[in-house]
Symmetry: C2
Subunit: 206 residues, 2 copies
C-alpha cells in the first residue's frame, strides 16, 4: 500500500460514487472492473480512480482490474457503510415525505429509523411505515444508536433543531435547509440547497 499521505477531502467525496459504480456496473457478479470502465461510467480519469482507491489499499489485480464484490465491500468498510446506519428524519413536510420514501438510501445502508415534526396535525400520522413523533421528544433518541440525521425543515428552525440533535448524540447531519449550522467540530455537516445548486446553471448558458 501507498506510504501514508493525507487523504484528500475530494477523494472521500468520490468514494460513494465508486460504491455506486461497483453496485450498478458490477451486477451481482463475480467479475472485475478496470479503472477505465469505472472512469467511463463516472466521467472521471482512470488515474484519478486508481490513486483514490490506492489511498486505502491495493484493491486491484494488475492486468485485470478491481474485483467487484470485494472492492465494494472494502469501500463500504472505509465509509463505515458496512453496518446499517440509522438516521432520524426531521421534518414531515413535502420534502421530508419524499425523502422518507426515497429508495436510494438503501444501497448505502442507510435506514431511516424515526421521523419527527413539530406540527400537532402531523404527529401520530404515518409516512413510509413510521409514525411521526413530536420534535419535543427528540432527546429520546439518545438511548438508540442513532448518529445521523436528515434535516428537512425551513431555515428558521434549523439551528435550534441542530442544537437538539447534537445534544441527543447525533454526529452527522444532512442539512437541506438554506442556512449554515453552527455545531461542535466533532459533528460533520453536509448542506444541500437545491435552489443554490441550480443558481450556477444560467451562467453557463451562452
Amino acid at each position: 500500500m501507498m506510504k501514508y499521505r493525507r487523504i484528500p477531502e475530494e477523494t472521500i467525496r468520490r468514494m460513494p460514487r465508486y460504491l455506486r459504480a461497483f453496485s450498478t456496473l458490477g451486477g451481482h457478479g463475480r467479475g472485475f472492473l478496470s479503472s477505465r470502465q469505472l472512469a467511463d461510467y463516472l466521467h472521471l480519469n482512470p488515474p484519478q480512480i486508481r490513486k483514490d482507491l490506492s489511498y486505502f489499499g491495493d484493491f486491484g489485480t494488475r492486468g485485470v482490474g478491481y474485483p467487484v464484490s470485494q472492492t465494494a465491500e472494502q469501500i463500504r468498510k472505509i465509509l463505515k457503510l458496512d453496518v446499517s446506519q440509522k438516521a432520524v428524519l426531521i421534518g414531515a413536510g413535502r420534502l421530508g415525505t419524499a425523502i422518507a420514501s426515497y429508495p436510494g438510501f438503501a444501497i448505502f445502508g442507510f435506514n431511516i429509523a424515526a421521523i419527527f415534526d413539530n406540527a400537532p396535525a402531523k404527529i401520530g400520522k404515518k409516512i413510509a411505515g413510521l409514525t411521526i413523533q413530536d420534535t419535543a421528544r427528540l432527546a429520546a433518541i439518545r438511548s438508540g444508536d442513532v448518529h445521523l440525521a436528515i434535516l428537512a425543515i425551513p431555515g428558521e428552525a434549523a439551528q435550534t433543531c441542530a442544537d437538539t440533535l447534537v445534544q441527543a448524540g447525533v454526529r452527522g447531519i444532512l442539512n437541506l435547509s438554506p442556512c449554515w449550522l453552527r455545531v461542535p467540530k466533532r459533528v460533520k455537516i453536509v448542506s444541500i440547497d437545491l435552489a443554490m445548486e441550480m443558481g450556477t446553471l444560467p451562467y453557463y448558458i451562452k
Copy 2:
C-alpha cells in the same frame, strides 16, 4: 479591474452563496457588507471572497465594504439571474411536488413554468397552481423561452427524458436522479443524489 484571468470553477460555484448572503444579511437596506462579515456568515476567508468578487469587477469601496443592493444586482447579472429564469419540472411524484412548492427558488429568480409527468393518473391534476402535463408533450416547450429543467424522476427514465429536454431546447438541467446524463457539451448538468451526499457522513464519525 483585475487583468483577465480564467475564472475558477469554484468561484462560480460560490457566487450563488454570495448572492444569498447579500440577500439575507443585507436586509432591504442601503448598507455595506465587508468581506469579513460575509466570510463569518458563509464560513469562508475574507481574501477568498475579495478575490472571487474581483474577478468580475471592482464592486467594493475601500475602507467600507461592498454596497449591498448594487453588489447583489451585479452578481445577479453575472449569473444571469437578473431576468426571471423559467424552468420546467419533470416528475410530479413526492420529490417533484416538494420542489414545486419550495419557496427557495424565488430569491434566485427561478420560476417553475410547467410540470410534466407520464403517469396518466396524475396528468390534469394541479400542484402549486400548475396543471400537470403529459411528458409526451414536452417538445411543446420549444416555443417558450425555457432553458432550464429540473429532473425529479427515477433513474431509469432520466436519460430518455434528458434527450427530449435537449431536443426541446433546454440548456441546463438540475438532475436529482442517481445517474449520469449524456448530453451535448453545450448543455450544463448539475446532479445531486441526496443518498450519495450523505454517504460520506459515517466516515467522519470517530
